[in-house]
Amino acid sequence: MKTLTILAGVMLVFVFVWERVDVVRLGYQIERSKSQKILLERERDQLQVKFSSLAAPERIAKVATEKLGLIPPQQGQVMMVHQSMDAPGLSSPPVEQVRLARHVVTGRINE
């Protein structure tokens, strides 16, 4: 009985020490994860900055006109095509619009 009590006491001491060591170990692990999180968040922000700068309308317009040789649609080149409300076979006509850009090439109209 006496031996068992001593053993249990020693075990308790070991458990206590192990718990303290493990808390410290987990503390280091949490800190590492936090540092990694900060780095990832920083990288995410940098990518967001890059994305926003690349998607800026001013830049897109510049690339479209200078690099791709595009021009804004001229008068009459953009036509909104609406779906007629009395189209046959449609019980609840959707309201979406279809936008068509007409490309005028030497007098011919390709839609």
């Binding site: 940098q46 967001q48 926003s52 953009v78 909104m80």
Partner: protein, 572 residues
Amino acid sequence: MTVGPSRGRRYVMLFLFFCGFSIILFRLVTLQVLQAAELTAKANRQHEKTVSFEGARGMVSDRHGKVLAMNVEVPSVFGVPTSLENPSAVARHLSPVLRIRSSELEKKLRQNKSFVWLARKVEPEQGRRLEQLSLGGIGVVMEGQRFYPNGPLLAHVLGFSGMDGQGLEGLERRYDTQLHGEKRVTVLQRDALGRTIFPKGGKEQVPTQGQALTLTVDEVIQYIAEKELDETVVRTHARSGTIIVMEPQSGAILAMAVSPRFDPNSVSALTPDRWRNRALTDTYEPGSTMKAVVAAAALEEKVMTPGSMIFGENGKMTIASTTIHDHEKLGWMTFSEMIQKSSNIGAAKTGMALGDQRLYRYLQAFGFGQRTEIDLPGEVNGLLKAPKSWGRRTLASISMGQEIGVTPLQMVSAIATLANGGVMMKPYVVSEVRDQKGLLLMEVLPHAKRRVVLEETAKTVTTMLERVVTHGTGTKAAIPGFRVAGKTGTAQKIDPRTGGYSSTLFVGSFVGYVPAESPRLAMIVVIDEPQGEAWGGTVAAPVFRRVGEQVLNYLGVSREDTVKIALATRDY
């Protein structure tokens, strides 16, 4: 026979043990009791670290979620002068990296301080190079910096924030309380090597990020407005220009462009004159655009009908010993033609028919002489004197847009009232405020301020304003396929030298809405001091057309000649 220490030696040993333990006990009492507080504090200093975290400033995005302002972390460099042995050598090493003169750095490093900023918010590459140098007594910390990815786009509305993240101008200032992150202080425990283990008590104070703003502004519409405005201001060598695009039914601002522009990412070298939001801080005499308001008042009060006849005095009329001129000799004309031809004499007669009290009442109802209460800082009241302070000519002058100072925002709000069937809406820029997790904290709903005129009156004025664009002074504002209602304005500016009206300085403007039958946009274009032809119909109306056409295309608004097709469906 037993061999052992004699009794005397045993006493000596006992005494020595007693002395030894007494010394240990004394030392224990000294450390644990007498010096307890001091030593505990010393131990805490060694294994505890107090760190303050500041939540990032909230993001600002347009109505479709495109980012307009955000926070990024950039390095800041500091020095600990008291720990430096050779400040001169350190300064020489730092100088090429920070691009600051060595002498300047050395001066800072020689101060008798334990902390000094050497350069704040430098480029990430500079921070990396400094870390590689690993100079003793020099450290790098990361700080949040405001970044505007679109550069000058919407800069006058967004404003900018200061070095310490406080809002200084525009929305950054107006919504600083919501945007700024909260500061939290946490005590961390660290080991012998200085590595952080965990927060004291196991609880870490996580800083709260600033709230995010969603604007009513559309990035693309803003871009179109700024591009067209900039081109016109440069081409006409104008002093400045303003465009406001508003949704008449809600009062939501879709675009607010001011030229010349500035980049909020680098404002240190600029003067307030450059970042002032002229759309709501500057007043101008609106000139003939005011006739649309006077016409609405006259129709509402039944002083005039579209067919009422007015005599144009052949282009010249004297009031209070001053002569009013029209740009052409006009005889008899209808009230509708008076607006179409923008007759000053006709407008003056309409004002006189209304009388000072009634005209003043309508001017107030249309929002002149008071702030629109838009959620942007710096808005002014404009200049509208009470009738008791009016001179003998004031009634006629105000009727043709003189002796009254308005902001472009007030003018577009007034015209949007007509576009909205006579109901004035409160203009606004921020539509939503959300917390860092995206939870909606505040939603701004359209707010009707008051009914100014009857819907019928608004419709009649719309028909008259359509004629301005089809047959009158505003033909260059016409957008093919759409019905445009609007009014041109050309106002002489006050010559600061003479105090009278200048013959060379003008403000050309156009204010209107489209499509007239069901307005989607109300817009004002103001060009300040254009060189050469300064007529509103020549300088501002074409800008209205170009912006209007592109925006209507972008919004997918149908032209009158829309092709209607029937889509057939087939069941399989």
